[in-house]
Symmetry: C2
Subunit: 436 residues, 2 copies
Amino acid sequence: MKEVGIGIAGFGTVGGGVLSILRSHAREIEARLGARIVVRRVAVRDPEKERAIDLDRSLLTTRYQDLVEDPTVQVVVELVGGTTEARSLVLAALGAGKHVVTANKALLAFHGDEIFRLAQEKGVDVYYEGAVAGGVPVIRTLREALASDRIQAIHGIVNGTTNFILTSMAEKGEPLEKALAEAQRLGYAEADPTLDVSGGDAAQKLCLLAQLAFGARLAPQDVLTEGIMGLLPEDFAWAKEFGYALKLLAVARRSGPNGGDGLIEARVHPAFIPGDSMLAGVRGAMNAVLLRSEALGPTLLFGQGAGAMPTGSAVVADIIDLSRNLLSGSPGRVPLPPAASLVRLRSHAEIRTGYYLRFSVKDAPGVLARIAATLARHGISIAAVQQREHEEEGAPVPLVIVTHQAREADLRSAIGEIDAYDTTAAPTRLIRIEQV
Amino acid sequence: MKEVGIGIAGFGTVGGGVLSILRSHAREIEARLGARIVVRRVAVRDPEKERAIDLDRSLLTTRYQDLVEDPTVQVVVELVGGTTEARSLVLAALGAGKHVVTANKALLAFHGDEIFRLAQEKGVDVYYEGAVAGGVPVIRTLREALASDRIQAIHGIVNGTTNFILTSMAEKGEPLEKALAEAQRLGYAEADPTLDVSGGDAAQKLCLLAQLAFGARLAPQDVLTEGIMGLLPEDFAWAKEFGYALKLLAVARRSGPNGGDGLIEARVHPAFIPGDSMLAGVRGAMNAVLLRSEALGPTLLFGQGAGAMPTGSAVVADIIDLSRNLLSGSPGRVPLPPAASLVRLRSHAEIRTGYYLRFSVKDAPGVLARIAATLARHGISIAAVQQREHEEEGAPVPLVIVTHQAREADLRSAIGEIDAYDTTAAPTRLIRIEQV
């Protein structure tokens, strides 16, 4: 039987998943592929470390370079993580004419240009299904199923940690700190959760999606990024009252009149979405990506966004796909993402959405009138207003206003003014409304 | 620029969609493929017919054989429908060494064996993403993304007509006849809706899914098939009361203890599913397929199941995929479904699910006790009971019992006995409960 040789760099959670799937499904994979996938080399930091999965010690090395130099390794599987060592390894592997599978979103978000350019030059493939939404086949769908279509918008719940936290807050009325602690206890959040709760992780993934969907070359810092810190249980209560769910969304879309003026928006932020939408039903640590395209209309892909087995499964599917290319002599069968950006980014100031605004105001006559007048002066039109009774005499009262679509810059100016009023007790909370 | 020549047979709704997508997205397709897709021949029944889309009359022919004989046609796109002419055409095209794209589920469900065998022999590809759930990339996902995994279960809402009808009944409390008439008025249901409402259409699609997921060779008549006729608005009210939604589900799963004894179940029937599940949120004419696999866990794919553009888009994605194989000299890159069945079908009598039972009984002492005793005698254990007051003196009253998991044969025997009682006013309605 024919063989495809692979080398695995980095052997943590996902690496264990990959090896375990390769072993337990070896028979099915051989039957479907007509060849055997053989692990020739595994590069690890500490070869003495105890591991949950049994590994032939003669395969182990501490030098990533051994994978690159081994002529029997055709595919390098990068599971090192980070962007320094991983970058050197991937560039060396591509330089040596080897194909690469990676689940490293940060690497591709920050160094995709360089990596795809070298792969193109060397005529080899880079597959990365595991980098976005774990085992959910969104990369493959964008690359192949939608090759016939023109994508208009992506709305994704692509960070399981924050979705777990927001689901707990929505369903149990918990404060964020408690939901976060629970997520950490259950292993859904890391000890330092910054990358997740800041929206940074979702922004990296959005870069990869926008590249495939629109040919956009974005860096994570180009994405308007707001995290979930500062959300209160009452925001969820208000969301429900207005018929919405509150989710951390990653959004990339063609914008402008008539479905596009050549510009795209790219943003990650908490958003009110219709309570009966499919995305609103995505609970806990699950991920989902909603694609809207011209011919197909809406397509939603949903599943587990992380974990040894889901991500491992995506990596192995990539290895199989690459092996099919190798065995049929057709690497480069599906083109790599374009090196130059085909679209430009709309300035964040020009983005238009509806807004939920939670003001904290002193209970005095004329406060609502003044806020409404300020919004009107900036061209912002009000869709709904609700004011609660204050809980104790003299305490600030919450005032909630839902607006129609408005320009981000106008909204920001209006809020700037309102937050400076002496009747305003705390900075106004702003959550965008997204019709998914 | 390189060219791939295609011939289209049948030029109805989907054919129009295919041509319109090929035209309007020609630039994107050429950029992604590095080649032009050229329509060389279009076979139609009536070349004089007025068409919504402009078509070069010199391409038209009334003979399907012209597509097969044209040496410049490399891919035959079968959109004829039915199983007679379509079968002859596809076999002739494969026989002549041409690749085939089809959206014809009936053809593949009834004649897949013959078609895949010939394709295998000739070393050509048969792609059929459009045959199940329109543009939702479920075929591609089963064939490629899940190639690394072992699938345990498929739960699909794969018939848009019936899902539209059931959604209307659930949300508006309408009787079935009214919802069906509305679906016909809006073009979601055909004048003769039998194939849809009987579950037959869903059963054909299930055969294709089960083949890819489990290597099962099933004919539609092997599938336990029950349609939606006979469902009453009160069934939806009861579903809601017990926390369920009521959907027409297509189910194929490995069954038996410890996740499989080598047998699979295949069935299409109305089912109670948890009201907070993703499938419960699939409304109107939309389709969704939930796959459960060993490594990946649950994956849901959702989108438009029918229509010129969604199905057309799937057909064009297949044409592009096939063109990539052709251009890189790798037809047969992904193996065709296995010709022999790798699994056997569990006898319908041995299937175990929970049941919702709606009895119509005379309001007399001891009726409930007698029914409960009969169920117990057949080993069926009761999870919940509800009885309504009768509306007028002497009229039958509804009695609803929800059971724990029971064997279909035992349930059938018990219902047979109960329906023969003189206190039973009408045949008992049985709806299976499925934990999706």
